[in-house]
């Protein structure tokens, strides 16, 4: 009995993530009870396939939010990356060059944001807002209309898939997304960089007094987020087989919502990258359930996500209140 109690106390840090997991399980159960074909492997596998780019965005966003910042530019950078990829491949540049290049585009924008935030002490909100406008405007300079992607290497990569256990379909974008999650998990929990990220979120002044490389880390989290957004754009291009300037509008809000639902506090310092993945899955499941329901109109998705956000935020508030 005492053992259980001690474990429960140890798990306090994981409580928000456990909450997210419970919601996820409840949603799966709800879907399973209401609809006949819901609990199939196909539906769950599609959840990952359809949300691979959002998982990557949410992972990058987690880094930024853990330091107490925010990145509003990810949706626009995703669009810029996918439009650039489509434009270059239409111009005949081989996919082997384009793929690394568009990811670097994201990193460069992230670096610019990081420099603005750290060196010029501009609030992250404004710096990333400027980056968002910049990237979105650049999209329309490159191509105002949708460009289809016909490059053979790219299409082959995008349509590659395998069946794990004979039934669970895994596409290349799912593999990439899971690899990003694994790398992020390693970075956050097993490197000095990761510990510094948590330390900055806990208290920037204290982190600096401890001699941690605050300046470098603060710039780097935006590079990580920008890189993730660039990669997300690539996955989105693979998903839609095209590049369109208006894709990813308001996707930064989905990413932030996923991170918050995943139990990361916006004040920074508390949260897990796996929680954010669960958050993305919760958002995806809501979408799936509303599709299965059939009679419900699409706007209910937004209302339900808003309501869920409210529940989580209030719960988090109660949790932090009890702790202090």
């Amino acid at each position: 009995m005492a053992n259980v109690a001690r474990r429960a106390r140890l798990d306090r840090r994981y409580l928000p993530v456990v909450g997210t997991f419970v919601v996820l399980a409840l949603l799966v159960a709800l879907g399973g009870v209401r609809y006949d074909n819901f609990l199939s492997v196909g539906v769950l596998a599609n959840l990952f396939i359809n949300n691979a780019f959002l998982i990557v965005l949410a992972v990058g966003m987690t880094f930024v939010i853990l330091t107490g910042g925010i990145d509003l530019s990810v949706g626009a950078v995703l669009a810029l990356s996918s439009v650039t990829a489509a434009y270059l491949m239409q111009a005949g540049v081989p996919a082997g060059v384009v793929i690394p290049l568009v990811v670097v585009v994201g990193s460069v924008i992230g670096l610019l944001v990081g420099v603005m935030v750290h060196v010029f002490e501009i609030q992250p909100f404004i710096a990333t807002l400027a980056a968002m406008f910049f990237a979105r405007g650049l999209c329309f300079v490159i191509a105002p209309e949708s460009i289809p992607i016909k490059d053979e290497t790219f299409v082959a990569l995008a349509s590659w898939d395998t069946w794990a256990g004979g039934q669970w379909r895994i596409t290349s974008s799912v593999v990439i997304a899971l690899a990003v999650v694994a790398v992020a998990f390693y970075l956050l929990h097993y490197t000095q960089f990761g510990r510094t990220v948590y330390a900055i979120g806990g208290g920037e002044q204290s982190a600096r007094l401890m001699g941690l490389p605050v300046a470098r880390t603060k710039v780097l989290v935006y590079v990580v987020s920008g890189t993730c957004a660039g990669l997300g754009g690539l996955l989105f291009a693979m998903f839609s087989r095209s590049g369109y300037s208006l894709s990813g509008v308001a996707m930064e809000l989905d990413a932030i919502a996923a991170v918050v639902i995943g139990g990361t506090l916006l004040t920074g310092g508390t949260g897990f990258v796996l929680g954010s993945v669960l958050g993305v899955l919760v958002l995806g499941l809501i979408q799936t359930i509303i599709t299965f329901e059939g009679t419900l109109s699409s706007w209910w998705t937004k209302i339900v996500i808003g309501a869920l956000l409210l529940v989580f935020v209030v719960l988090q508030r109660l949790l932090t209140l009890r702790r202090t």
């Binding site: 501009i122 909100f125 979105r136 405007g137 329309f140 998705t301 956000l309 935020v313 508030r317």
Partner: protein, 364 residues
């Protein structure tokens, strides 16, 4: 103001230095630069003529087009001054338009002033309730403002679509059209409303203690509460006002096109409003606000949108220019640039004294 106080300008740099360091110097410079670009590309840009008893010309267009943003940015300034932020204004804009037009469309007599008055009252009432809801989450539950308003931002457009049933509601109602497209005494009604509300709030905050109380809450909520300021009531009030003003902006926007588009009405207006506030020199860290700065910021954004069209560039590229203006204005206003500007005359007069803040920054 805060930057000039600790370092009195030496007589040598004189009045010019004081002008350059005034907090409105860079925003006004940006606005003038935009107007100059326009006038060079089209010399008749600044001319105003009288047509059908109305004033007519590009400056009047700017004043009319900026009315909704002016109202939203006004509420945003007050919210930001208390160290908050309101992301839900765009959703409130959509909801207000949806409610008013749905009511007018289903009423038996869309053209009667009474119907329009009830519709406007309903929309404004609901906007106020939404603002109060945000204020409740922030002031009572204690949720961070950015998240509290993110909830309504996400759900709000869904609610607006629920009201219009996913359709774009259109109506024909002469009294309602006056709100956005009408003229009174030769000036656009929308401009008169926005400027009137703006003047009223400026008067209330700067001629009474209200403005100082708002700033006190922004500097330190608990300290101001202990000093006897009703911090909770003030936070609640500014969010409620932000909702109300956004609702009014939504009515003007809906009346401009006589349609309620739940998806696109007021899309990104929260970002434009925050930009206008920041360009105007109000810090997102709260504690001080400048309504005149916001006024200039809104004019800059409205002029910029017109400039892009004027120069024959696709309006889709406007965000790029917005980004450039924002980066330019925020960089010259950033603490680092200000410190350098402030340090220059000091170094000339007393080279011996070490300037602590900038050197310690360089080490870190």
């Amino acid at each position: 103001m805060s930057a000039t106080a600790p370092t009195p300008a030496p007589a040598a740099s004189g009045r010019l230095g004081a002008v350059v360091r005034h907090r409105l110097f860079w925003p006004v410079t940006a606005l003038v630069a935009l107007l100059v670009v326009n006038t060079v590309s089209r010399p008749s840009f600044l001319s105003v003529s009288v047509l059908d008893g109305h004033l007519y010309g590009s400056p009047v267009d700017i004043l009319r087009n900026c009315a909704p943003l002016m109202l939203v940015a006004l509420g945003m300034t007050l919210v930001i001054a208390t160290r908050g932020i309101d992301l839900s204004v765009g959703a409130v804009v959509a909801i207000a338009g949806a409610v008013a037009l749905s009511f007018i469309a289903t009423s038996p007599d869309p053209g009667s002033p009474a119907t329009v008055l009830v519709a406007v009252g309903l929309a404004l009432g609901l906007s106020l309730v939404l603002g109060v809801w945000n204020g409740f989450l922030v002031a009572v539950v204690g949720v961070q403002p950015i998240i509290a308003t993110l909830i309504l931002m996400t759900a709000g457009r869904g609610i607006a679509m629920l009201i219009t049933q996913g359709q774009i509601t259109t109506v024909t109602s002469a009294p309602f059209k006056t709100l956005g497209a009408g003229f009174w005494l030769g000036l656009p009604v929308a401009t008169l409303i926005a400027f009137g509300v703006f003047g009223l709030v400026a008067l209330l905050t700067r001629r009474t203690a209200l403005g100082v109380l708002v700033e006190a809450v922004g500097i330190n909520p608990s300290a101001s509460r202990l000093a006897g300021v009703r911090a909770r009531t003030i936070v609640w009030t500014v969010f409620a006002l932000s909702g109300l003003f956004s609702g009014l902006a939504g009515l003007i926007l809906a009346s401009n096109v006589m349609a309620a588009d739940a998806n696109n009405a007021g899309l990104f207006i929260e970002l434009d409003a925050i930009l206008a506030v920041v360009i105007g020199g109000t810090s997102l860290a709260g504690g001080k606000f400048s309504l005149s700065g916001t006024f200039v910021g809104v004019l800059i954004i409205a002029t910029l949108s017109l400039t892009v069209v004027n120069l024959g560039i696709s309006p889709l590229v406007t965000p790029l220019f917005k980004a450039l203006v924002v980066v330019a204005v925020t960089l010259v206003q950033s603490p680092v640039a200000r410190r350098k500007l402030a340090a220059r005359p000091r170094r000339r007069t007393s080279s011996g004294s070490p300037s602590g803040s900038s050197t310690s920054k360089a080490v870190a």
